[in-house]
Subunit: 164 residues, 2 copies
Amino acid sequence: MFREQEIRQGEVQVAVPEQVDAWLIYIGRIHTPWTSRMECPRQGRHDGPLCRIEIFSPWVQGLQDVGLYERLEVLYWLDHSRRDLILQSPKSDGTTRGVFSIRSPVRPNPIATSIVQFERIEGNMLYVRGMDCLDGTPLLDIKPDRTLFSPLAAAQPGDFQVGD
Amino acid sequence: MFREQEIRQGEVQVAVPEQVDAWLIYIGRIHTPWTSRMECPRQGRHDGPLCRIEIFSPWVQGLQDVGLYERLEVLYWLDHSRRDLILQSPKSDGTTRGVFSIRSPVRPNPIATSIVQFERIEGNMLYVRGMDCLDGTPLLDIKPDRTLFSPLAAAQPGDFQVGD
C-alpha cells in the first residue's frame, strides 16, 4: 500500500532543510477514479480508465497543438507525500533501497511523471489514459513524449557534441 | 537559441498568479560543459559528454542502489526561464505553439526531465551522459527509468483496472 505517515523497519529519515529554493504553481487538477491511496495503480496503463486533466486559467490556451502527440508526459505534485526518507523499505520487510533507486511517491521533491495516451481535448479538459494518481492531484506540467518530439528550433553546438 | 527575456512575434503572455502552491528544495547541482544557453544541446545524447551530478547533504545516502539501473530519469529546475508564455514561437517566425505541445524551457513550472545513461558513483557525485542543461543547474530528483523499473511493493487494485 502507499504509505501514510509511518516509518518502516530499516528506513532512514533525515531533517529536511528549511530553505525554500523555488516555488510551484498548480496549473490544474487531475481527475481519476481513485479516491484512496490503497486503490491507485503502482503504474498507470495505457488501456486504463479515462482520466480528465482540468487546466486552470490562465493556462488553457497552452493546450493548443497538444493533440499532435499520441503520448504526453504529465508532471504532477504528490501533495500527500512525506519528503524525508532517504532509505525506504518498499516491501515493508526491512530491505532498504535508496530513494533515488525507486519510483516511490515519498521523495525530497515529490514530483511524479507519467507517460499517458492522448484521447481528446474539450475546452479546458484534456482526456488521457495511463494516470496512476489520486483524484484531485495537482498538475504541474504537460509536455510531448520525448520519443515523439523533435525540437522545432534550430540545433545548437551541444547537439553535435559527443565525448569524454 | 534559448530565449533570454524577449517576447517574439505572435507569442502570448499571461499574468502568472501570485500564489505559491508548493515549494522545492534543491537537492544538488548538475555540472555540464555548457556555460552559455547558446551552447546547450536541445536534446541530450547518450554518447554525449560525461556530466557530474553533485548531491547535497542530507540526501547522499539516497544514491544507494542507483547503479542497478542503466538509465535514470533526472528532474531539474530551469532557474533562468521565464514562466508566463502560453503560446510560443520556437522558430522565431511568428508560428506559435501551445506551451504544453513543446518541450521549451519556458513553462509555468520550468521543470525539465531527461533520460540519462548511468556511468558511476563516486562519493556524493553521480556521473552520467545525456544531460542538456547549463552548468550549475539545480537538481530536483533522480528516479530509475520507468521502462527499466518494476514496482517492488505489491500491486494494488488499480493495477488491474482497464477501462472506459
